[in-house]
Symmetry: C2
DNA sequence: CGCCTCCTGCCTATATTTTAACAATCATTC
DNA sequence: GAATGATTGTTAAAATATAGGCAGGAGGCG
């Protein structure tokens, strides 16, 4: 699987989108598609779609197109959506609870096994079969349970410290919602969801649009 | 302000990060910095940082560096963080409520004015001074109040429809949390936060790491 | 069967983004 | 007040990402 090593992040970011649209086609009962059709749906150029897919092998048939279900399965395999993943959430505040309640992951087999928090009022509560446990028990828990992905939803002040603790306990994949960049060793992958930065970008474009509108009036 | 028109999105995405780190420097009482220092903090190359900033003008002093507070204010101005923004949230489920409760926006003046939902159990509740109102009252509300940014936290099945309604009522900036791409006119800016796609990317890298680890053993 | 249309996979060209290099400039030191 | 070291702004080069173009294969149709 050496070919995976050199795939650009931009390609990986697009794959979930293809996957989603292929799912929609399946739901509509359409079982054949083409890069042109996917282009219309996703907004990416047909050429780019073909090239993206060809990074992983020729899933299509020349002169014909792609089999929707087959292509979807192949992308699932590439992303690893054909496996099960156990998740814990550290920090059971607003965001942590929202993630635990989020049903949008249904497309793959992600299971939130437990949440952790310091707040005694939260400890003992359950969210969709997942218990909120005391943060002090985190390390013991990770020793016993094999966890794939940890979600950090703590305040930023403790996020680095929590991340280091997680890594010490063998975690290699972190989904970080704290507005801070984690300094992590090479063999840990961090996926950031920085809501501020997203909102600030939006703010920039909002203002730019307003400036243009005023100019044209 | 024509120069803003051609700034690449990649640059805009980095500005909030500079802004955040400059805030941290201020908090530490440091009032002078350099592209090299910012590079160490942010992980971007010093060259790139200088080039990014010079898109908007020379904020530094040759041979000396940048004044932390001044640079931070300039970036704030570029992003528009020196203004106030009124926000509504459509969909007061888990994510909607979490956003309403989110305090991470404190760096700028964002005010969540109201939430909207169809669920009678939620209508009438308040979250941090913002009331959850009936979705049926959305259009009336938007006629009376001048809202800058709308957040979509509805199920994906209605997100497109909600977005169109918002645009009809004069909204031009949408922060979309529904796992669907909105088809919008040119003069509307949509910033997507697609949690699935983010998690799927993480899953890909998690698996790739595991493959590499197994190979090296 | 032959022709036409459509579409992939691949190769090439263009555009964009990032990195590198360097002259100009400033504060500091001796 | 001249030399030094640090650092910017800017230009050029390299790397990367995207788009375009085309040969060849597949299916459909008369």
């Amino acid at each position: 699987m050496d070919k995976h090593d050199r795939i650009s992040p931009a390609v990986i970011r697009r794959l979930p989108k293809y996957y989603r649209y292929l799912g929609e086609l399946t739901k509509m009962g359409i079982n054949k598609t083409s890069s042109r059709e996917l282009s219309e749906m996703t907004g990416f150029s047909a050429s780019q779609i073909r090239q993206d897919l060809n990074n992983f092998g020729g899933f299509g048939q020349q002169g014909f197109g792609y089999d929707v279900e087959n292509l979807r399965n192949e992308i699932a395999k590439i992303l690893g959506l054909d496996n099960k993943y156990k998740i814990i959430i550290v920090g059971a505040g607003n965001i942590g609870q929202a993630i635990a309640n989020y049903t949008g992951f249904y497309e793959a087999d992600y299971e939130v096994v437990a949440l952790f928090d310091k707040n005694p009022k939260l400890i003992g509560m359950s969210i969709r079969n997942a218990m909120i446990m005391d943060s002090d028990d985190l390390e013991d828990f990770l020793e016993k349970e094999k966890i794939d992905i940890a979600v950090i939803c703590t305040p930023k002040s403790v996020s680095q410290q929590v991340a280091e603790q997680l890594v010490r306990c063998g975690i290699h994949a972190i989904w970080n919602f704290a507005p801070k960049d984690l300094k992590m060793p090479e063999n840990v992958h961090v996926e950031n969801v920085h809501l501020n930065e997203s909102l600030f970008s939006l703010t920039y474009y909002y203002n730019r649009m307003n400036r243009e509108k005023n100019k044209n009036e």
